[in-house]
Amino acid sequence: MAMHGHGGALMEESPYSIPSRKLTMWLFIISDAVTFGAILFAYGYLRVATPDWQTPFKSASIINVAIMTFVLITSSLTMLGAVDASKAGDKPKAFRFLASTMVLGLIFAGLHIREWFGLFDAGIKLSSGLFGQTFFSITGLHLLHVITGVVALAVVARKYSSGSLTPGHVETIGLYWHFVDLVWMFVVPLVYLTNIAR
């Protein structure tokens, strides 16, 4: 059913009954998922083709990764709380949940960077062979998404609190944050758990 918008322009109903910003975020998520899929497949290709693949992760690294996974999954839960509180019109509660999500995201980033420095000390860098190149590319791209997500959450939190953004915007950034968590669910088993030092 067509509707008349500003100045008499004919407007179509929203496809899938969702706002354009939400549909755009979904389309971005799909494209980003395919990007990560391609980079993980490329990593798999190189790993299968390399008989002496490096497996450097000792127990301390795996425990660190387990903590990072717990932090990121928990941040998805707090993000759900933020979206729900914003839809209920509870701005202070939504802000607190958004702030919690940001803090958890920063903790994740901090643990990740600390892990990277541990690998640097062990002589594994971006330039040190196929493992280094693939590992730091994949985790670097994911870390970039996390940091960008934290910045976006801060902007949305501030603007939602001041009233210039709506609960729909909180929901949209929530989709992005859940996607970042979802990607980590694939990075952990494929990049870390298959490269445990035996």
Partner: protein
């Protein structure tokens, strides 16, 4: 929009999904320390990762509550593209055995 006072329910509603995601992650870490072949381990971990992703997509990202047309517009095409990337494995194994041409 006035506060409806129901905002605590969503956390409680999705706590089971949260705990299942944590449990799946725990199982993955457990399996990684068992003596499976790399191929077998990758298969199991990938299956668990897909389960986690499905739960996250359907419940945390609320795709289960959106119109079916959105799901069918986004997901099958994405899965198709990701499945098509599997064509690389024959070349990867060819490289492993240093064969100049694919059989």
């Amino acid at each position: 929009m006035a506060a409806s006072g129901k905002s605590g329910n969503v956390i409680a509603k999705y706590l089971p999904v949260y705990f299942v995601l944590l449990a799946i992650a725990g199982i993955e870490f457990f399996l990684a320390y068992q003596n499976f072949s790399t191929a077998g381990l990758v298969g199991m971990l990938l299956f668990l990762a897909i389960c986690s992703a499905a739960l996250g997509l359907l419940y945390f990202m609320h795709l289960a509550h959106e119109k079916r047309s959105l799901f069918f517009s986004l997901i099958p095409a994405t899965i198709f593209v990701l499945l098509m990337m599997n064509m690389i494995w024959s070349d990867s194994i060819r490289l492993l055995h240093m064969r100049p041409f694919a059989h």
